[in-house]
Each structure stands twice: as structure tokens, then as C-alpha cells.
């Protein structure tokens, strides 16, 4: 369970998030939509403290971290409960697909190499890349790289995976292979918070759609309700 309470983010002169309250149940898929500049990515990045919120608390299961007095240890603990998939994949360029997935297991979780190889291979198979284990990111297409990134996030067995516009940087013909993997993960009961513009994905997969505008949640509900309203009001 993820619970965000009154999350604010202020850059020098910009109030990007103006008090976000959001609760995500275990196994729930929440899609965050809204115009660019609404603060969607910032909100997602606040959850694992890649951006430090200016105010508010973040709770993942029993771990409660408040922005004002978060310690380094708490932030580390929070990040170890969460995983993130980035718009531009951000694979480790000097490591093969397999090593990318293994990295967190070995360095962060302290698993043995053989154990890490086993788990990583399993997850790369799950995203359909069993024949690309020893390829470097530079040798993979964007869609393949993003699937490696998803395997990397998944392998850590997180409480929630945060997807930050995972298909926005992809060629149109590569989008579907990534969405396919995400649907499969959702079906397995992974808790997911997804920032995306893919309306179809939201409609089919999301349990709930949250619409952000100008740093506030302006609408929230089932995909049918929210997307229908958006259509009639002409929002994107």
C-alpha cells in the first residue's frame, strides 16, 4: 500500500505540486494523466525521493518517510521498496542486459551471482528477451531496452513499480511490445503507478485514473468515467 499525504514540491519560484493526497492499494494499477507541466513526473519522482518533496509524507507499507526530516537511511529504505522505469530507459551502458538486471540483486540485495543470474534470466525471459541476455544496450532497440529496464525493476521484487512515461521515447511501432509486457505485469498483481499518455492502456489496464493539472489532482475515478469526462471537456 502506498499513501501520499499533502505532497508539495517547490522549486525556486515554482510551486509544482500543491498538496497531493493519493492512496494506492496493493495490486492496484493507477494511471496518472494530465497536460505536460502538470507535475506528473515530479510527483512520481517524489515517491522515491529522486526529487525531494518540499513537504508531505510518503508511506510504503510500514515505512513512513516525511519530507522535512527524511534521513539518508529512510530514503534508501524507501528506494529499496520501490522500482522505477524511466522514459529514456537509463540502462547501465557498460553492462549487458543480464548484468543490468543483476546489478541491483548483487549490489543492493547482496545475492550471490549464481542466484542473481537465475532470477535475472527468469525476468528477461518474462519480457521476451531470453535471446538478448548478453547484448549491450547499444545493441538493442528502444523497445528492447525498455523491456530490459522493466525486467530490472521487476527483479528487485518491489512493493510498487513507478513508470515515468515508459513509451513516450519509443518509435510508434515499438510501443506495443512494451505495453504488452506492462499488461502482463499488471495481471500478475503488481502494484503500479504509471504516468502515461496512452489512453488505451489506461482504459484497459488501469483500476483508477488520476488527472493532474497545475500541481493538483483535478479528477480521479474509474478509467471509463474519467476518460469519458475528459473527452467531453476536451482535455488531453
Amino acid at each position: 500500500m502506498i499513501r501520499l499525504r499533502d505532497i508539495h514540491k517547490v522549486y525556486r519560484d515554482q510551486h509544482v505540486l500543491k498538496g497531493i493526497d493519493l492512496e494506492v492499494r496493493t495490486g492496484e494499477v493507477v494511471v496518472i494523466m494530465g497536460p505536460s507541466g502538470a507535475g506528473k513526473s515530479t510527483l512520481l519522482r517524489c515517491i522515491n525521493f529522486l526529487e525531494r518533496p518540499s513537504k508531505g509524507t510518503i508511506q510504503v507499507d510500514d515505512l513512513v518517510v516525511s519530507a522535512e526530516n527524511a534521513t539518508r537511511k529512510q530514503i534508501l529504505a524507501l528506494r529499496r521498496l520501490t522500482s522505477m522505469v524511466f522514459q529514456h530507459y537509463h540502462l547501465f551502458k557498460h553492462k549487458t542486459a543480464l548484468e543490468n538486471v543483476m546489478e541491483g540483486l548483487v549490489t543492493v540485495k547482496g545475492l550471490s551471482r549464481s542466484e542473481a543470474v537465475r532470477i535475472s534470466t527468469e525476468h528477461l525471459e518474462k519480457v521476451g528477451l531470453q535471446d538478448r541476455l548478453h547484448f549491450y544496450p547499444s545493441q538493442l532497440s528502444g523497445g528492447q531496452q525498455q523491456r530490459v529496464a522493466i525486467a530490472r525493476a521487476l527483479a528487485l521484487n518491489p512493493k510498487v513499480i513507478l513508470f515515468d512515461e515508459p513509451t513516450s521515447a519509443l518509435d510508434p511501432d515499438l510501443v506495443e511490445e512494451v505495453l504488452l509486457v506492462m499488461r502482463a505485469i499488471a495481471k500478475e498483481g503488481m502494484t503500479m503507478i504509471v504516468v502515461t499518455h496512452e489512453v488505451n492502456f489506461a482504459r484497459e489496464v488501469a483500476d483508477r485514473v488520476v488527472v493532474l493539472a497545475d500541481g493538483r489532482i483535478v479528477d480521479e475515478g474509474s478509467p471509463e468515467d474519467v476518460l469519458k469526462k475528459k473527452k467531453t471537456t476536451g482535455g488531453t
Partner: protein, 238 residues
């Protein structure tokens, strides 16, 4: 004596001069090792912008880059014994400042000198690693030390490596300044041998050929190593 060029003397002098190649290489290799250590620390201080130390690092690099190595060698050679002497008197110590070998000052100056240049190339290499990968490392729960060791450094070193090669080649040539404080290396040996028969042109040709050959070898080795290091950047069109 009337001839322009004494082949016999040149051939004869070669073994006498090349005998000091280990001194030259010794200065270069030892200074490079300490320089890498110093350069790396300095680069980290600047990369993480550690207060106070960051300022000192900026001044250090600026001073080394803004003054000739020749001047730096003299400053160390004449300055350090003086400072130690003053400390001796002030504290009643009994350090023998005159027993410090000249070679020590060369090691010291060259290390500090190349360290400054190395720090700049290491720093820019650290900065060249894509910020997104660092975020990805943090996102999977790495500490900043782990991210540095596992993600940033391995890639930064590949970027900095060609620079290391160039700086090492410069360093090998810079060691030729050591003779001014009477350290006998290739250049010093050439001077001594040349003075014997006033055949300076010949001995300096020998010196030049030795430096050239050594630097050529280093360049080849660096190129070879670089290709191996960069294997992950190769793209395969499949």
C-alpha cells in the same frame, strides 16, 4: 672534427644514454601512480562539491596549470628544504633537510603537476556519465558510493582513458626537466655524454629518438587498451 655529423660518436653514445631510460621511466611511472591518486581525490572533491576542499582544489589546479613545470620544480627544490629548515628551528626538530635526494623533488613535483591535469580529465569524465543512469542506480537503492563504484567510475574511466595516455606521454617528456636539479635521466645523460666531445647535436638526436620510441610504444599500447575498454559501445546491426 670538421664534419657535420659524427656517426661513430652517436652510435657509441647510444648505450651510455639509454642506460638511464629506467630513471626517466621511473619518474614517469611513479609520478603517474601518485598523480592518479591525487587527481582522483581532487576530481571527487570537485564532483561532489565538498565545501572548503572544493575551493582548495580549484586553486591547486589553477596554480599548476598556470605556472611552468620548470618553475614548480625549482619552487619545490629550493622551497621545501627552506620550509623544513624553518620548522626544524621553530620546533627544535632534527630533520636533516640536506639529505633529501634531488630525485624526491622530481617525483613530488611531477606527481603534483600531473595530478592536477589528471583531476581535470577525471572530473570531466565523471560529469560525462549520463545523469539518468545515476538516477537509475539510486532508484534501485544504491548508495552514492555504490553508484560511483559500480556505475559512474567504470564508464568515466573509459572516457578518461585516452586522456590518461596523452598525459602520460607528456609526463614522459616532462621528466627531461629533471636534469636542471642534477638528476641524471635521459636528458641529463645526453648532456654529460655530449659535453665530453662537444658532440651535442649527436647526443640530442639520440635522446630525441629514445623519447620518440618510448612515446610511440605507449601510444600503441593505449590504442590497443582503449579498443578493448570500449567494446560495449560497439553496435551490432542485427
Amino acid at each position: 672534427m670538421g664534419e657535420l655529423f659524427d656517426w661513430g660518436f652517436m652510435v657509441q653514445s647510444f648505450p651510455e644514454i639509454v642506460r638511464y631510460l629506467p630513471v626517466t621511466l621511473g619518474i614517469a611511472v611513479i609520478s603517474m601512480i601518485f598523480g592518479l591518486f591525487l587527481g582522483f581525490l581532487t576530481a571527487l572533491v570537485r564532483f561532489y562539491q565538498i565545501p572548503v576542499l572544493n575551493r582548495l582544489a580549484v586553486v591547486y589546479v589553477s596554480f599548476i596549470r598556470g605556472t611552468p613545470l620548470l618553475v614548480q620544480i625549482y619552487l619545490a627544490y629550493y622551497g621545501i628544504p627552506k620550509i623544513l629548515g624553518a620548522l626544524n628551528e621553530a620546533n627544535g626538530w632534527n630533520l636533516n633537510v640536506d639529505s633529501i635526494p634531488a630525485l624526491f623533488f622530481v617525483y613530488l613535483t611531477c606527481s603534483v603537476n600531473v595530478g592536477a591535469y589528471l583531476s581535470e580529465s577525471i572530473r570531466s569524465a565523471l560529469l560525462s556519465v549520463d545523469k539518468g543512469q545515476i538516477e537509475a542506480a539510486y532508484a534501485i537503492g544504491m548508495t552514492s558510493f555504490q553508484a560511483m563504484r559500480r556505475i559512474i567510475l567504470p564508464q568515466a574511466l573509459v572516457v578518461a582513458f585516452p586522456n590518461f595516455g596523452n598525459l602520460f606521454i607528456s609526463l614522459v617528456k616532462d621528466t627531461s626537466l629533471a636534469f636542471i636539479i642534477s638528476v641524471v635521466e635521459i636528458m641529463g645523460a645526453a648532456k654529460i655524454v655530449g659535453a665530453r666531445g662537444l658532440h651535442f647535436f649527436e647526443v640530442y638526436i639520440v635522446a630525441a629518438l629514445i623519447y620518440w620510441f618510448v612515446c610511440f610504444l605507449i601510444e600503441r599500447m593505449m590504442l590497443f587498451a582503449e579498443r578493448r575498454l570500449r567494446r560495449y559501445e560497439r553496435e551490432i546491426v542485427s
